[in-house]
Symmetry: C2
């Protein structure tokens, strides 16, 4: 990053930069004191990942690991992590975004080598674990993009757009959830709820049928499994606007789990907070909806059934009796149905009849 | 579609509705004349799909097929197609969008049965073939969403937004390419080129590095293989703004083919026009770029090599010596490289150094 742009550092950046500086200072101090530098962080090994019913997400236990420059096997990952911190510091200072893929290739510009992308991904996760900040805060964003639509006025903080505002209902196809949106300030909204939807066709239907005004809602398209920055965005909507989040997915184990990951996060992100929205609700399509609405459905296949048995034992599925009940019904009726199946009663049925019963 | 909204029919709608009316009138006239109704259309069988070097796309030959209500085997598809025309007429009149999946389920609201979605998809393709209009014109849109960013002011024609305008640089993450965008009027632009990019991370990089102003361009994110509506949108940008379109993909047979489908379309869409942009250019990553820039690369695997041999014989790859040359180099160096590989020379290299050499 040759170019030094004139930058006003905002509060969020300052917090992130300070966490990196802390890491760096620690290494420098150890060197000054004539000891081999070490980095301590919580262990991410399977036996140290625990479900925490209070946080309603996976968290890391008390086991820690130490990376020491004294240990010949640690020298490489130690150096790689120091480089990752340097690179993240540059990204954050200059507010340039990148992806995990970029990190892998960028290393070569610094004569830093990673065996493969898996190795560089792991080092970024180490950095997340050591600092407690998600890589998105270091400006390393996912490749995937999802979308949002509704009456929410945001104010950008990204270079070139500072202070500019946009109302997210400006474009009736929706706007992308990317770095500019997730780092924006929420200024004003008339919405009293958020509706997250798995599929693009339904997202467009909801906009056309004016769900955003009829049900005063901000609509979020997850495009299947919600990318991390979208989960972070949903959490911000929930925390900052203090409004409920309802999730609509296909009625099958995979749709159910899309909702669960939004609510309780994933084991992979046990070292992070703020990527899940514990108060969000899975609103459908439930197995019981398939029965109640006599929805056109398909038989569950073997993989679906295997998945349901896994979910039945998953600690995230123990909190709320809804999940266990619906899993049981899925296993009993052995059918699954898509959100679009409501079109069986006309295209607007899902909005006019189904939605009002679920937003309660 | 119970609700009859007050509608002003615009020119485009009128054209589509008239093509459906023509189909219906023909059936009614045949019935009035006491003959079994029939529908004639070009055959889409493999031997009737030909590459047309003038149109620079696949087209259908002179063979036709007839669906006759007299033939017992034709009665079902004939009726299904008449229903599809009715349903499309309703969607178009009320300007409601749907997806292929919706069509399948909606049929049940009319007691029309399809064995499976493949069957209803085929019937929609029949309707496209018989009328010469793409299903998107009948308001049946793909599930996939891609995105756009740049200085282009559009005026919406969708209900609730008629006459409203938006400049597509309003949201620096990009806005979705959906029904509202593809049916909008293009009002004003300072751009003198379009740059289509395969990947979300690069799309964001290009926006951050101000490619839209530095290179006066409209940026289009295809998110892998461009959805049909995005290909249609690119064609409109090329035709209506009369500016060149440059395509950047990963340097491998799959990336190359993403570019080719934008340029010359697919055999599946041989019955349609305006879904391809013959004058668009594949600008990289070329096999020769991998050599020239000493890009970090991976070995081609067996599937890649098999695919290159297929493409070598594909008629679409015969027009321009560039393709044959690059395929030969791929097969010689047996390596592939991603767009992100330029990060090897720093994150901004692709924009500062590589791009200017390609936009000529």
């Amino acid at each position: 990053m040759e170019k030094k742009s004139k930058n006003v550092i905002n509060d969020k950046q300052a917090e992130i930069l300070s966490s990196l500086k802390k890491l760096g200072t620690q290494i420098y101090n150890q060197l000054d004191n004539g000891v081999f530098p070490t980095i301590n962080m919580p262990s991410r090994s399977t036996e140290n990942i625990k479900y925490d019913p209070n946080h309603r997400q996976y968290v890391l236990g008390k086991k820690t690991v130490t990376r020491s420059a004294r240990n010949i096997r640690h020298v490489k990952p130690f150096t790689q992590m120091a480089w990752a911190a340097l690179f993240s510091n540059e990204l954050t200072t200059h507010r340039k975004t990148s992806t995990l893929r970029d990190v892998y290739y960028s290393a070569q510009a610094y004569n830093m080598t990673f065996k493969n992308q898996q190795e560089s991904n792991n080092i970024i996760t180490d950095l997340e674990t050591a600092t407690g900040h998600a890589r998105e805060e270091f400006h390393i964003f996912p490749e995937e993009r999802s979308a949002v639509f509704g009456d929410l006025t945001i104010e950008y903080t990204v270079p070139g757009y500072e202070g500019k505002t946009l109302n997210l209902s400006a474009h009736p196809d929706g706007v992308l959830v990317g770095p500019a949106l997730t780092t924006s300030k929420f200024i004003d909204t008339s919405a009293d709820k958020v509706i997250a939807i798995e599929k693009g066709g339904l997202f467009t239907r909801f906009i056309e049928e004016k769900v955003h005004t009829k049900h005063k809602s901000i609509l979020v398209l997850t495009s299947g499994q919600a990318p991390r920055q979208t989960r972070y965005f949903l959490r911000r909507l929930s925390d900052e606007l203090k409004i409920p989040v309802y999730i609509f997915t296909d009625g099958d184990p995979w749709g159910m789990h899309i909702a669960m990951v939004i609510i309780s996060g994933s084991a992979n992100a046990a070292h992070l907070r703020n990527l899940n929205t514990p108060d969000a609700k899975w609103s459908g399509v439930w197995a019981s909806d398939i029965v109640k609405y006599k929805l056109p459905s398909d038989p569950l296949d073997e993989v679906d059934i295997k998945r349901l048995h896994e979910l039945q034992k998953d600690p995230r599925y123990q909190d709320d009796p809804l999940w266990q009940k619906e899993i049981k019904i899925f296993l009993k009726i052995k059918r699954k149905a898509e959100l679009e199946a409501y079109a069986r009663y006309g295209l607007t049925y899902i909005v006019d009849k189904y939605l009002p019963t679920k937003l309660v």
